[in-house]
Amino acid sequence: MATAYTPGLLVSENITVRKVRRLPIQGEVLVQEGQEVAPQDVVARALLPGKPHTLNAANKMALMPEDVPSHLLVREGDEVEEGQLLAATKGIFGFGKKELRSPISGKLEMVSRVTGQLTLREKPVPVELTAYLRGKVVEILPQEGVVVETSGAFVQGIFGVGGERVGTLAMAVASPDEPLEESHIGPQHRAKVVVGGSLVSLGVLRKAAEMGVQALVAGGIWDTDLADFIGYEIGVAITGQEDIPLTLIITEGFGPMAMAHRTFRLLQSLEGREAAVNGATQVRAGVLRPELVIPVEGERQSQEESLATSLEVGTPVRLIREPYFGLLGVVTALPPDLQTIETEARVRVAKVRLPSGEEVWVPRANMELLAGD
């Protein structure tokens, strides 16, 4: 039987983090194995083929497609400049003369005798891939990219928007259950990764954008505020490409929710350090969660901290579904047999002691393991 509980989000003080940095197409790797890199260092580069333009010469010149090549003043493969004359017809007694000029600077790639179409291509566009993490290049993927490794703290959120950013970690609230207010954000947070408590609102997001904040991290957000901030509603949990001025990482879920104490305390202890963050989320096979990586120099270990992956009596858990959504607790019993719950579904359950002392039955699918809180 497949595991009936969710391994929690990874929150670790010291872990080896490896990131594969891969170009979208083949290119050139610019660093060596073993080289130390900073987040903004370019590690690989490729030339993306320029944007193509099609030009229907037959229509524009009133020619049959097969007659287009004989009226061209340039040949396939020639470089062309914007405005350059590509083709001309003489007309009759000087009347009805037609000219065709290039709309772009680039290359004439193809001339079609069937459609009378010209394909012109703009100059190649260089794409540069940065290291993202401060660390060491541990592997070269020839022509494709590199693997960068670092050691430090690693925190996964549950959901995020916005791509990779780097900034200094700054705490904006004093406790994990304190909502982030507009007054908490100021000019001192320019270029910072700002950590709030239980809730981030639309007003806070706008103020943070105005102040030049790189990223915001908080426990929860109202669904409607998120839609207003990014300008549309997210339908499928695949994010990271949004065109927004800052990256947002939600650690717990939608609605006001105190950030897990351990996450908050860990981030608090690392205030002032450089954090690499990425809001990209993909909730499906090969789950990708948003993350914060905070390299801690001089404490590099090759040992990975293993996440609690087995549910036992005494395991701290977070409950992730109604009617206990957002509560933390400790497992007190794990009956092996299937039990019938209120919906009449027969599932595996666990008994969980809530902070109030009350003990409740919860389907194992509705809890996430916490690695010691």
């Binding site: 509603e233 997210i234 949990a237 929710m257 909730v283 499906r284």
Partner: protein, 601 residues
Amino acid sequence: MDRILATDCGSTTTKAILIEKVGDEYRLIARGEAPTTVEAPFEDVTVGVLNAVREVQELTGRRLLQEDGEKILIREGNEESGVDAYFSTSSAGGGLQMMVAGVVRTMTAESAQRAALGAGAIVVDAISIDDGRLPYQKIERIRTVRPDMLLLSGGVDGGTVSHVVELAELIRAADPKPRLGIGYRLPVIFAGNVGARRHVEEVLGDVVDLRIVDNLRPTLDKEVLGPAREEIHDLFMEHVMAQAPGYHKLMEWTSAPIMPTPGAVGLLMETVARQRGLSLLGVDIGGATTDVFSVFRGTFNRTVSANLGMSYSMANVLLEAGLAQIERWLPFEVPPAVLRNRIRNKMIRPTSIPQTLEDLMVEQAVAREALRLALEHHKSLAVELKGVQRQQELSAFLDYEGSGSTLVNLMDLNLIIGSGGTLSHAPRRVQAALMMLDAFQPEGVTELAVDSIFMMPQLGVLSPLQEEAATQVFERDCLIRLGTVVAPKGTAQPGEAILHARYPGGSVELKAGEILRMPVGEGKELSVELRPARGFDVGSGPGKAREVTLTGGAVGILWDGRGRPLQLPADPRLRRESLWRWFEALDAYPSMPRTVAAGGS
């Protein structure tokens, strides 16, 4: 062939089934499952396959793996250990993502779409000369989408060449790269006008991996999808699967090529419909997508609604349907912001399950809308061929707006098969039946069933090779028959008599606005005479009587007088009361206080 092993490598779980011949018939002996291991840290699909098979091995006590446990054991004779054949399907790694192109949106581009969907692909975009986009927009789209392969069609044989070549030129200009395998050439299948082949080859031959097959629309009134579909399957094996971790090993193990999961399900549906002479509708509601399969008038169609699902695309159901459409299925009031947050929280924690009854109802309300939207989508693509009546030059159809009528006829529909966790694992079977009734609104007399453990993919891949084994196991071990619904088509004021049904030893009076449940168990039948009221149709025409045999099942026989189209009271209070009344009449949920109100976030 007496012992057959089959696996389906899904994106999260790999499922194995063992089939054996017991006496004269094939039966399911055991099933096992294990997490799919395509992703890190394993990056080898065979690890999950071996784990799933190991579970079957432990459950049955039969040795199915070689001694080192590293490979499936294929036996030569009738030895005690091993299997006679092993098959597999796969949808891991995002399945097969395709882009299609054709000259006219409603004709060759649509035929190309049907070919790709029928082969089990997700169609990420359909490009056509008349799709309203400018050439550079189409090029940009081809460049950014990065499909696994592209199917180019266009032109009947002897028809347009220049439009087809224009599409080929767009593809060349885009210089598309495949999603997997950096540095590989994108596979492109050309299934268009034979007269354009030479030109297409000239334009594309040196930049993509070009394959040429028979025209999928050789004449306007003929659609021939087989050759294109087969080429898609071959390329799926050669390119897509070969790029996925561990698949080269798995490909060596199987007794027949690995198929994309939905392609295999489609094959099974086609086989069943052909054998039993049925019109059927199949639906698989998953976490990310909802697939709809249909066979009407012998024509098979499949659509995939890529972003309608019950977990990570659940919020998209909210977006496409709107909150009010979901709320209308709830018998209690929930503050809109709370409902929205709840749906989003399921999206980000997709493996969680409803613990409270109220939460279960919310999920089933979303499922109704996902199913309804998926059927709408399906109806728009499962259509008669367009343009058949007008024998003109193909280019004359560029502005042709006429649409072929849909093949989906809910009155002709004989059987609905539901699968996917929400339907197959609904705590009460009647909940699955009701979700399908509300979402699809079948008319007249329709049988309902659910797939017990989703083994249709494995049976599908088996069906072309061992049709008998596949259909026997499907009928006996895979399908759970829920029963039959009788739903007169038409509307009337609540309380008006709309149907009188007589059967040996009894009768039913059905009134508008009510739904009744009659317990008739599996394997039992009821011969009835249906006499609809004036204006109501049960399959023989408005007001016309019909004699029919209804089959029972886990739910029994349902008499649905709620009208077609289904009438929900506009007033929220009355609507909620109606829902409670229907739930009670069907014994759909355990009793709960009607005043329940959803709280929390």
